[in-house]
């Protein structure tokens, strides 16, 4: 009950942050604008349709990820320090509230806020793609602008479940990143935390590269250990971006649903460990 009460209050507070609203509105605006941007693309042939839809989806997912990363960073770095600045933490922890309940409630609130933001962006993204797919089908069936008989109409599905998996995988990234910055916020200042969080994301985004550096023949033993450790400890954010074919043109996943499940377990494990670490630190933190 206490955790839920703190979480709800956190959501109400977070959704009123102007900067988060700006990022959200801009991201949604850009996803919608991708409709007009796509007017220049060709949807009239089978090859053109699938390639152009791939581009649209990648653009939408990219926008969501970019806006969401900033939202996760801003939300995560301010989540606990703001309680200190506003001194709201004193009256809360003077009540029979266990410290783990406070941290868990704040984090759950952040996750719910991110879920709302991702949900709004995701719905806009999927609606945009569906809208465009319907338009493409109509265009393909038109006798004047249509494709060659038997080409194009069936090539673009109106609704593709992979879009949903893509949105979920993006949300999982936000979960992991916000848990990391929450942990850091108990140790570092807000500004340092923001840049450290961004650095962790950047390195995690290149985890395959970092991992391969660890296995490079030219690397010394120490360098190998360093890169291997880095790749193991930091979250592998690039694995969450598999559905984005612009980022991973060579990677083919047989079943994206199963891949999403696997990544969900990975994210939950990572978030749980980070949260436990945050709770252990906060138990001894003076407020």
């Amino acid at each position: 009950m206490i955790i839920w009460a703190i979480a709800k209050t956190t959501v109400g507070d977070a959704l009123r942050k102007k900067i988060l609203q700006v990022f959200l509105v801009v991201a949604i605006g850009l996803i919608v604008l991708s409709l007009s941007f796509s007017q220049t693309l060709s949807f009239s042939s089978q090859r053109g349709a699938s390639a152009d839809f791939m581009l649209l989806k990648s653009f939408g997912l990219g926008m969501m990820a970019l806006a969401g990363i900033f939202i996760s960073l801003i939300l995560g770095v301010t989540l606990i320090p703001q309680e200190f600045e506003r001194r709201t933490i004193y009256t809360i922890l003077a009540k029979p509230v266990k410290r783990y309940e406070f941290i868990t409630g704040k984090f759950l609130g952040a996750l719910l806020t991110l879920a709302i933001a991702t949900g709004l962006m995701g719905l806009t993204f999927i609606a945009t793609i569906v809208f465009k797919a319907i338009g493409a089908q109509q265009m393909a069936m038109s006798p004047t602008t249509g494709a060659m008989p038997g080409v194009g109409v069936d090539s673009v599905a109106i609704f593709d479940w992979n879009m949903v998996w893509g949105v979920i995988l993006i949300y999982l990234q936000f979960m992991v990143l916000s848990s990391i910055v929450l942990l850091f916020s108990l140790i570092f200042t807000t500004t340092v935390n923001f840049f450290m969080g961004a650095a962790v994301y950047a390195i995690g985004f290149m985890s395959t590269v970092v991992n391969s550096l660890g296995g490079a023949e030219r690397a010394s033993g120490l360098q190998q250990v360093f890169f291997k450790t880095l790749s193991f400890v930091l979250p592998q954010f690039d694995q969450f971006n598999i559905p984005n074919q612009l980022l991973h043109p060579e990677t083919q996943v047989a079943n994206l649903g199963i891949w999403t499940l696997k990544m969900t377990l990975y994210a939950l494990l990572y978030v749980s460990l980070t949260l436990v670490a945050a709770i252990l630190i906060f138990e001894r933190k003076e407020v």
Binding site: M1, I2, A5, T9, G12, D13, R16, R86, R87, T88, Y90, T91, I92, L93, A94, K95, P96, V97, K98, R284, E286, V287
Partner: protein, 306 residues
Amino acid sequence: MAEAVVVEGLCKEYKGRLGDRVMAVNNLSFAVQEGEIFGFIGPNGAGKTTTIKMLLGLLFPTSGKATVLGKPAGDIEAKERISYLPESPYFYEHMTGAEVLDFYCQLFRMDTATRRKKVPELLERVGLGKDGQRTLRQYSKGMLQRVGIAQALINEPDLLFFDEPTSGLDPIAHKDIQDLIGSLREQGKTVFLSSHQLSDVEHVCNRVAIINRGELVRIGTMVELLHAGRTIVTVACASAELVESLKPLAEHVSAEGDLIRLYVETEDSVHAVLDAIRGKASLVSVVPQRQTLEDLFVEIVREGRK
């Protein structure tokens, strides 16, 4: 009577910016009895808030120990029975007064039915019955303080920690806080009151502890702390001879027309003066001057600076 708060050799050391050690609280020991209104005063930076935060488990002592209602400071069971009103309390501004109180009620695991009954009662009790649906952004400082008081009364606490409860309040709100402390005393509650309003402390507290630079300087009841001051004896129509005979009994003598004022230090001297003037002059008044808490406080703080 049981002890509500026991502090034994409590110390809090901070690391300064230059790596030096700063003793915020140094070997503090005292006890607060149940049902007592206990004043905790000291200049800015004396360690009052640090001590309160240690008693609430928000800060951890470097050494020493503290118990609150028989439990170690910060214990969750004890927190069920205590409350805290910080100086200038802050709440989530986007919430209404009623929502804030509902939130704090949830922290006591109150169910929805209890909260629905409790919140309007609390709002009425602190005079915010008509403002409960306004967001805190629209509240004045005094109204926010009332919300603070309301959240401190949610659990009908046995022990209340008030840290500068009247800071920056207008006279009406100030009076309301005084009345509240008075009613809490009547209900047998224990109040740990830290304040710079020394007249309030002197007026409402049973006992007072004065700390300076983290150390306990004095503790006791008002009678124990404030010694009787001198007495001004005013007489009229006294002859020059009589005035001369009275001078050895008084610390200082002043004349204003027909009136002679004698500033007498001890009770024995007062009796001697009264015996001496009997039948020889008219007694106008005998006014004993008592030392105030403010006098004592200023004296102690100035001594500490030397």
